[in-house]
């Protein structure tokens, strides 16, 4: 940028230099708008906790050949889903080498690297970035329209035509704007993880990977019956292991989250993978998993909200995604804000293009289509009874009891259902519900 604009001349202020914030700033800067990103950490990504896979195809149109420059840890070529009890595990493993070639599918990253890289793209496009600065509140005009933010620096009241809140889960700015209701524990989960160090070649040997290839395992049944699941992801020379559990379920159980990770690490299906690994880091973070029905209104006069601040994490059992939704929402927010500024109407009506854009792309379409998934996946039957039923059924199918002849599968299923008090009526109803949710 040739000239740094004075603080009162910004077209837009983006709060938070996570994926949503940097994407929003990138879109605004590309549209020729002056934009500043305010980040509370010393550098983008320094405050973020994450243990998952980033699906970055959303960047195809914005950063051509992004995969040639993104700071990747490993390209995920194996995606496993593991159903487990304390002593059993049934795994469905999907592997394709197509995911290991451009344009790739998913990757593991360190958020400190990835978020810094994405913020650099925004800065290169002309955005300004100010770190170590906390946005402490909103500035409004006499009509209540948001006209800027207040920061914790001296002389830190900034004016702008649009403020985009990308300040993460439990967004204080979205609450102050009246968009986000009081936090509801039922719509949030707690993610806790350990980062365990292992040499790269050991990771590749144990998980059947070539150099640069990665694995992602999602688990269910490993949380002592607390609604949620576990995960394991491979980085270059570390492995992320952790659980994501319902806040209300965790509080009711009296179990501490680190006990759940300890359980997971000791599970006979997991322990051999982690033998000799050294703990490097422990982290925990709230995740907004309420889905479509828990999302706030996305715009107010002079104000937009995107990413985790708008509860855009998709937790739909088969799909556990967040960063791509944040980037998608951030790009849409930036473009909508730029269009509204160009038209001279930054009221909620003028910014309505944001929601329309999200409804036209994957962000709200996926959320809307899978709106029933969080409740279904976290239901007691899915979390306890069906897990036990599946594991027992698989064990008995492959247990050879000669001289007894092999039992029929239906017989085994019904026997298992009786043992775990699963009613066939519920089984059929949940099957239909699952088909409806994932149709």
């Amino acid at each position: 940028m040739a000239d740094t604009p004075s603080p009162d001349s910004f077209d837009a202020i983006v709060v938070g230099a996570g994926p949503a914030g940097s994407a929003a700033a990138l879109a605004l800067a590309r549209a020729g708008r002056s934009v500043v990103i305010i980040e509370r950490g010393p550098f983008p990504g320094s405050k973020n906790v994450y243990g998952g896979v980033v699906y970055a195809r959303v960047l195809d149109d914005v950063i051509p050949n992004w995969w040639e420059q993104v700071p990747v840890q490993r390209w995920v070529v194996r995606r496993s889903t593991m159903v487990m009890t304390g002593s059993q595990a049934v795994t469905v493993d999907v592997r394709t080498q197509a995911w290991g070639r451009p344009p790739y599918n998913g990757m593991t990253v360190y958020r400190a690297d990835f978020d810094s890289w994405l913020a650099d793209q925004a800065v290169a496009a002309g955005a300004s970035l100010v770190t170590s600065t906390v946005a402490t509140g909103l500035v409004r005009d006499g009509t209540g329209r948001v006209t800027g933010v207040r920061t914790d620096r001296p002389g830190g009241d900034l004016a702008s035509r649009v403020v985009i809140a990308c300040d993460g889960v439990n967004s204080f700015l979205a609450k102050e704007a009246g968009l986000l209701p009081k936090a509801d524990a039922a719509h949030h989960t707690l993610g806790v993880k350990e980062v365990l160090a292992l040499p790269a070649e050991v990771i590749e040997d144990r998980f059947g990977l070539a150099p640069g290839e990665g694995l992602d395992i999602e688990m269910i049944g490993c949380t002592r019956g607390i609604p949620g699941g576990g995960f394991l992801y491979t980085n270059r020379d570390t492995v992320n292991v952790g659980v994501v559990v319902s806040l209300t379920g965790l509080a009711a159980s009296g179990v501490r989250p680190e006990e759940l990770i300890a359980d997971l690490k000791e599970h006979p299906a997991v322990a051999p993978w982690l033998r000799g690994a050294a703990v490097k880091e422990y982290g925990a973070h709230l995740i907004p998993e309420g889905g479509y029905d828990a999302m706030p209104a996305l715009a107010a006069d002079g104000f937009l909200v995107a990413g985790d601040a708008a509860g855009m994490t998709l937790a739909a059992g088969l799909w556990l995604e967040g960063v791509n939704f944040a980037i998608g929402a951030g790009l849409a927010a930036g473009r909508a804000a730029a269009a509204a500024i160009a038209q001279g109407d930054v009221t909620a009506a003028g910014l309505a293009g944001y929601r329309k854009a999200l409804e036209a792309n994957f962000v709200l379409q996926d959320h809307k289509r899978l709106r029933g998934a969080p409740q279904l996946v976290l239901s007691d039957r899915m979390q306890r009874q069906y897990v036990q039923l599946i594991c027992d059924l698989a064990e008995q199918v492959f247990t050879v009891t000669n001289p007894e002849p092999k039992p029929g599968l239906v017989k085994l299923l019904l026997r298992g259902a009786r043992r775990h008090k699963v009613r066939v009526r519920d089984l059929v109803r949940d099957g239909i519900e699952t088909a409806k949710v994932f149709r």
Partner: protein, 309 residues
């Protein structure tokens, strides 16, 4: 900007120099370095580079001294480009900034402190004759703490190290410094400029930069001092050995006396008369204190008689 370019020294970024030059000699470092417990390898991430509390105090003292004297602050640091964001913070506070390219600035005790101090002193001299150089008194990059004294040597300046307080006399270029002494005493020093001082983070916190200044300084290129052809590394003054298992020193122990039976009796004390434990409570505080004093008295632990303390 490329590191270590030859040619005329680039002007430090920041406001134009006026009045006496006060140099804040900083050692930005990753304050959360990871140490491998097995190999002793230290891993630092430059993105986490920041000022330690004592370096922050050094910069704050420099700003206050420059304000009092109507002078200019130069924030100076040695290291790779990764520490430029820290120098940008100093620019946002109104300082000028200059970086000395130095590849092993974070090699801990193995750094060549003599050469580093010579390079820093040369960069200071290029910027102008300093009235005051302020350093933090602790090296967050695990240096041996000799750099401030060596800079003073190179500049031919007076030095006052390990200060808890530093103020300047507005009417004259005199620094009034305070330093801890043993036994809770302190000494107050009057140090004439030019001087090199190192300060503790005692009662001083670095001010926050205004937003507009932080915005202006964000991403601003930090000039790099010209490489010093006369500064040759003579190697580290300390040699660092490789990690090895802990081996405690051998302790001389007197040989056992008597037979096995006697030693066992002595160790267990089974035939030695002793008072059995007894329960004396619950008691009020006065009674409990009396019981304790009686016990100590009965076992020969009474304090020596003398005047009341």
């Amino acid at each position: 900007m490329a590191d270590g370019g030859q040619g005329p020294a680039p002007a430090p970024v920041g406001p134009s120099p006026v009045g006496p030059l006060v140099v804040a000699c900083l050692d930005p470092a990753d304050l959360r370095q990871e140490v491998d417990p097995l190999t002793g390898e230290v891993r630092a991430d430059w993105r986490r580079a920041d000022l330690s509390a004592s370096d922050g105090a050094a910069l704050e003292h420099s700003l206050r001294a420059a304000e009092a004297w109507g002078g200019t602050v130069l924030a100076l640091a040695a290291g790779p480009p990764g520490l430029d964001p820290v120098l940008e913070q100093a620019v946002a506070l109104g300082a000028r900034a200059l970086r000395v390219p130095w590849s092993d600035a974070h090699s801990g005790p193995a750094v060549d402190a003599v050469a580093l101090a010579a390079a820093l002193a040369a960069a200071i001299s290029q910027a102008g004759p300093p009235a005051l150089v302020v350093c933090g008194d602790r090296s967050p990059s695990r240096g041996i703490g000799a750099v401030p004294a060596l800079i003073a040597h190179h500049l031919g300046a007076e030095q006052a190290l390990g200060l808890v307080s530093l103020t300047v006399d507005q009417s004259s270029q005199v620094v009034i410094a305070e330093r801890r002494l043993d036994g809770g005493w302190r000494e107050r020093l009057r140090v004439r400029a030019p001087a090199v001082c190192s300060v503790e983070a005692a009662g001083v916190r670095l001010r926050r930069a205004p937003f507009a200044a932080a915005l202006r300084s964000s991403g601003q290129p930090i000039p790099v001092a010209a490489s010093q052809s006369g500064v040759a590394s003579t190697g580290a003054q300390l040699r660092i050995g490789g990690p090895r298992p802990y081996r405690p020193r051998t302790k001389a122990v007197a040989p056992p006396m008597g037979g096995t039976h006697d030693r066992l009796l002595a160790l267990t004390g089974v035939l030695v008369a002793h008072d059995p434990p007894r329960i004396v409570g619950p008691l009020g505080p006065v009674e409990a204190a009396g019981e304790l004093l009686d016990f100590l008295d009965g076992h020969g632990y009474s304090p020596p008689s003398g005047p009341a303390q």
